[in-house]
Symmetry: C2
C-alpha cells in the first residue's frame, strides 16, 4: 500500500508521550490522503538515507503553528530512538503489524506459547513495535490462569535476554527483594551494611516509590546520593562490597519497565507478572543468590498464607530454572514495620538501629537481622542456623554502622540533614483498649497525602503498634507535613479512617514460619 | 491528592488523536510538579465555573511554541467534548479510575459479569472514561471462550441503551446484514429496491469499506449521495420505503465504534464481538426483522460449516432475547460474488442485474433474489416459500430498477458517471484446466492495492469463476487502476499469487442449505 518516494522533513515535536511513540502528520500533507493513513494507525518512519527506522502511532495535526505540511513530527522519545536530526529527510509508511502478534492471538485463544514465541514478543516490545493496546492485550491474555509456569520461565528469560546484563566477576552476588506493600519496612538499608561488612558482595539497586509513601531509594536519598552511573556503581561496590543505589540508570530488563507502564494504570498485578518482573531484573543485575520476602497480612499485598505459598513455589520454580540460588521467606505483614513512614522518618529508624539505640524500633531490627542472617548463610562457610548470630554481632559491634557510613561516603553524603515537616498533628485513640489492627493501606495513604515521598520530611510516625494498651485520648501517631494543603488533605483522610482499630482484648498472635 | 484551586487557561491543540482524548500540560507548569502528574496518566479536566468535565490521557509538552506554561491543552475531540472556549479557566486533577474497571478485573479473573456490570462498563466507555489500554484489557478478557452467551446479551443491550435509537413508527422494519469477507457480493443494493418495491420498510444504512476493497456505502456512492443527515434519511424512507445510505451520521450504539477502534488494530474479531456489534447497531437503527448472511468458504471469514452453525445460534440466542425477528442464512462463500471488485465495477454489476441484462452475473442475481425472498416472507401476507417468486417478479418486471432510480433520485444522483481506471492489466491462466479455487483474500488484496475503495474506478474484474474451463494464456481477470504507483503495486502482488488455482478436474460442488 506504500507509494515510496514521498519525502518529509523530520521535526522534533516537544511532546513527551512517555513509553508510547507518536508521529505527527499535518492533515493537509499529501501523504496523509494518498496513503489513506488514519489517526491512531501504526506507521513506520524511515530515514531516506540509511536504515534507521522507528515505529509510532499517528496523530493528525490541524494546526500549522505546530508543524508544516511538508514535515513529519516525532514525539521526544521517538525522535531520540530514530537518532536523526531536525530537517533530515524521512518517509512514512503503514507499519506492518509485528509478526509476534500472531503468538499473542494464540495466547488469547488459550494456547500455551513456546520459548521462541515469548522471545519474539518481548523483542518486539523492546523494539517499540507494540502499541499500549497491544501490550494490554498480551498482558491480559497472560494474566491470572492464563500462563503455565513453564511459560513464565520463558517470559522471564526473554526479558533478561533483551536487555543488558551486569557481570560482577564473582561467584556469589547476593541480593534481596521484598514484594512490598508494608509501610516502613526499610530492612534493605540494614541488611546491605551487615552483609557487606561480612564481606559478601551485595550491589543493591532499588526503585523509588511508585504507589507507596517511600521506596528504599527515596529513604536512602535523605542520607546519600543514589543516582549513580554504572561506573560509579561498580567502583563503589568493588571498594565497599555493597551499595544502596537507585536502579533506574542501568538498562536492565527494559521490557519490564515497558510492560509495567501498562500494568500499573491497568492495576494488573498477577503473581506471574510479579515473578517475571522481579526475577528478570535480578538476573540482569548479575545476582546469583537471592532472598525474596513475602509479607502476609490482611492489608498486605498477599493476604492469605495459601497465596503466599503458591507465590513462593512460583518464585522457586522459575528461580531454580534460571540458575539462581533463591530462597523465599514469608514474613508477618499485618502492620507497618518500624515507626516512621516517609523518607526522613524511616531513615531516622534505620540510623537508630545502626546506632544500637535502645529506643530503635525492635521489629525493624529483628526482621533485618533475620533477613541478613539468611543471606549470610548463602556463604558456604557459614553453618546453617548461624547467620542470625553473625548478623547480630556485626550490628552490635558497630561494624554495620561503620559500613553504612562508608557506603554513604562513597555514594556522596547528603549534606542537608533531613528534617521532619514543620506541621504536626496528633492522632489519638478514640477509646481505651488494645491496638488490634493497623491498616497498612490506610497508613500509607495518610503518609502520601501528607506529601511523602516527594516531601522528604512528610509522613507518619507511629507511637503505638499492635498489642499496645492505650487510653482514650492517648496519641497513636503523629502526622508530619511540609505544606498546609497536604497537611489538610492528610488530616481530612484520618477523619474517614484513622487506620487503627482498638479492641477490648489484645490481638491473637499469628504464627509465621521462623526465618 | 488534589490541591484544588490552580487554574489554567484552556487551549485547543490542533491535534486529532482519534478516539482517544489527550490533554497537554507544559513541563514547567507548576501543577505538573506539585501534583506529581505523569505522562500517560489519566486526568480529568474540569471547568472552573460549572460542572463540565472531560477525561483525557496526559502528554507533557516541552515546547513553549505549542502552548504556554499557564495553559491546559486539549486534543480536538476532547476540546469538543468539554464544550468550553479557548481561554476559559479550567483545573486539572488526577482522574479516579472508572469504577467499572473493578468488573473488568473480575472478568479477567474469569468471572461471569451481571447485566449491571456491562451497563456500567459500556457507560464508562461511551463517557470516554476508558483508555485504549483499558478497553483492550476488557475486550481480551471478553474474547474467545471468555463470555457466556447470556453475558453477550447483556453487553449488546448495554451498547443499545447507551446510544440513540431510531423509531420508524411501523411494526415491521426490515434489515439485512452480511458478516462480510466476500469480494463483490453487493446483494444489498438489489435486496433493498426489491423489498422496498414490495412496500416493506427497509431503511438500510451501511458502512464504508474498512479492510475490504468496497463497502455498500462506497459502491452506492458511485451512483448517489450516501452521506445523509437523519432528517433526509427519514424523509426518503417515508417516501420510497427504503434507502441505501451511509450509517456514519447517526449516533447509534456509539460504544460499538469506540470498541471497534480498539478491536481493529488488535485484529480481535471473536464471534461474540461480531454478534454484539451487529445486533446493537441494528436494534438501535430500529430494525424489527433482520436477515443475517453468513458466507462460508475456505477463504471466507467463517471457514467451516460447524463454526457457521455456532455463530448462527449465537445470533439467534441474542436476537431472540432482544425481541428481534431474526433469521440467519448460511451461504456459499468459496469465491467472490459477481464479477467486479471495487466500487464502480460492483455498481456496474448491480445495474446489469436491475436492467435484466442477460450478461448480468447470475450468482449475484440469484443470491440477491434468494435473500430478498427470505425478507419478503417476513410479511405475514406472504406464504412461506413464495418470497423468491415475488422477488423475481419484482426484478423481471422492472419495478426493482424503477425503485432503485427513485431512491437514487431521492438521495441525490451522482452526476459524474463512474469510470473504470485507465490503467488495465490482463492476468492470464498459467496453464489449461478448470478454475478450482479463487482466493477471496488475495482478490481483495489485489483490488485494494489497485486503489479500491478510494479510487472508485480501481479494482478487479473477474472474467472466469470457479468451474470454468480455461486455456493456458486465457484471461482470468483484469486489474484496473487510476494511478501508476497503485497499478505497479497490484501487478507486483499478482506475481506473488494470482489468487486463482487451475486443476485438471472441475471442483466438487459444495452443499449449502437452500435459502
Amino acid at each position: 500500500m506504500n507509494r515510496p518516494g514521498i519525502h518529509l522533513k523530520l521535526r522534533r515535536i516537544g511532546i513527551d508521550t512517555f513509553k508510547e511513540n507518536v508521529a505527527y502528520l499535518h492533515r493537509d500533507c499529501p501523504v496523509y490522503h494518498t496513503e489513506g493513513f488514519q489517526a491512531l494507525a501504526k506507521v513506520e518512519v524511515n530515514s531516506v538515507k540509511n536504515h534507521q527506522q522507528v515505529l509510532a502511532v499517528l496523530n493528525v495535526v490541524n494546526d500549522g503553528g505546530i508543524m508544516a505540511i511538508d514535515e513529519l513530527g516525532l514525539s521526544e522519545q521517538a525522535f531520540e530512538q530514530l537518532g536523526l536530526k531536525d530537517g533530515n529527510m524521512v518517509c512514512i509508511a503503514h507499519a506492518t503489524p509485528p509478526e509476534s502478534l500472531d503468538a499473542v492471538h494464540r495466547k488469547i485463544a488459550g494456547e500455551c506459547l513456546h520459548a521462541s514465541d515469548y522471545l519474539s514478543i518481548i523483542k518486539d516490545v523492546v523494539g517499540n513495535r507494540y502499541s499500549r493496546m497491544e501490550m494490554s492485550a498480551f498482558l491480559v491474555a497472560c494474566s491470572e490462569s492464563g500462563m503455565e509456569r513453564e511459560e513464565l520461565l520463558y517470559l522471564t528469560e526473554a526479558m533478561v535476554e533483551t536487555g543488558e546484563k551486569l557481570d560482577w566477576g564473582e561467584p556469589l552476588v547476593a541480593d534481596k527483594h521484598c514484594i512490598g506493600g508494608i509501610p516502613g519496612n526499610r530492612t534493605t538499608m540494614l541488611v546491605v551494611p551487615i552483609v557487606a561488612a561480612h564481606g559478601m558482595l551485595i550491589p543493591k539497586t532499588s526503585s523509588r516509590a511508585i504507589t507507596s509513601p517511600s521506596g528504599t531509594a527515596d529513604t536512602m536519598e535523605t542520607l546519600a546520593r543514589v543516582d549513580l552511573d554504572l561506573k560509579d556503581l561498580h567502583d563503589i561496590v568493588r571498594r565497599e562490597r555493597g551499595c544502596l543505589a537507585w536502579g533506574g540508570r542501568a538498562k536492565l530488563a527494559p521490557a519490564d519497565d515497558i510492560l509495567i507502564s501498562v500494568e500499573r494504570p491497568l492495576s494488573l498485578d498477577s503473581p506471574g507478572q510479579m515473578v517475571s518482573s522481579i526475577l528478570s531484573k535480578k538476573v540482569a543485575a548479575g545476582a546469583t543468590h537471592l532472598l525474596i520476602d513475602i509479607p502476609v497480612g490482611p492489608t498486605a499485598k498477599v493476604r492469605r498464607m495459601n497465596d503466599a505459598l503458591r507465590l513462593r513455589k512460583l518464585f522457586e520454580y522459575v528461580g531454580d530454572r534460571l540458575g539462581l540460588h533463591l530462597e523465599v521467606v514469608i514474613t508477618n505483614g499485618e502492620q507497618p514495620i518500624g515507626r516512621g513512614i516517609g523518607p526522613a522518618l524511616e531513615a531516622r529508624d534505620v540510623i537508630k538501629v545502626l546506632e544500637n539505640d535502645p529506643d530503635a524500633p525492635s521489629d525493624l531490627r529483628e526482621k533485618s537481622l533475620r533477613l541478613a542472617g539468611r543471606i549470610l548463610e548463602f556463604d558456604p562457610d557459614v553453618r546453617g542456623g548461624q547467620g542470625y548470630a553473625i548478623a547480630r554481632d556485626i550490628l552490635e559491634t558497630g561494624r554495620a554502622m561503620a559500613k553504612m557510613q562508608a557506603i554513604i561516603g562513597a555514594q556522596g553524603v547528603n549534606e542537608e540533614p533531613y528534617v521532619r515537616g514543620a506541621l504536626v498533628m496528633e492522632v489519638v485513640a478514640p477509646e481505651s483498649g488494645f491496638v488490634v489492627e493497623i491498616n497498612n493501606l490506610q497508613m500509607a495513604r495518610i503518609a502520601r497525602m501528607a506529601g511523602a515521598p516527594m516531601d522528604k520530611g512528610a509522613g507518619v510516625d507511629l507511637l503505638k503498634k499492635m498489642g499496645d494498651k492505650v487510653e482514650a485520648g492517648e496519641v497513636l501517631y503523629l502526622i508530619y507535613a511540609e505544606f498546609p494543603s497536604d497537611f489538610d488533605f492528610a488530616v481530612e483522610q484520618t477523619k474517614k479512617d484513622i487506620g487503627f482499630r482498638i479492641g477490648d482484648n489484645p490481638p491473637a498472635p499469628r504464627y509465621f514460619p521462623p526465618l
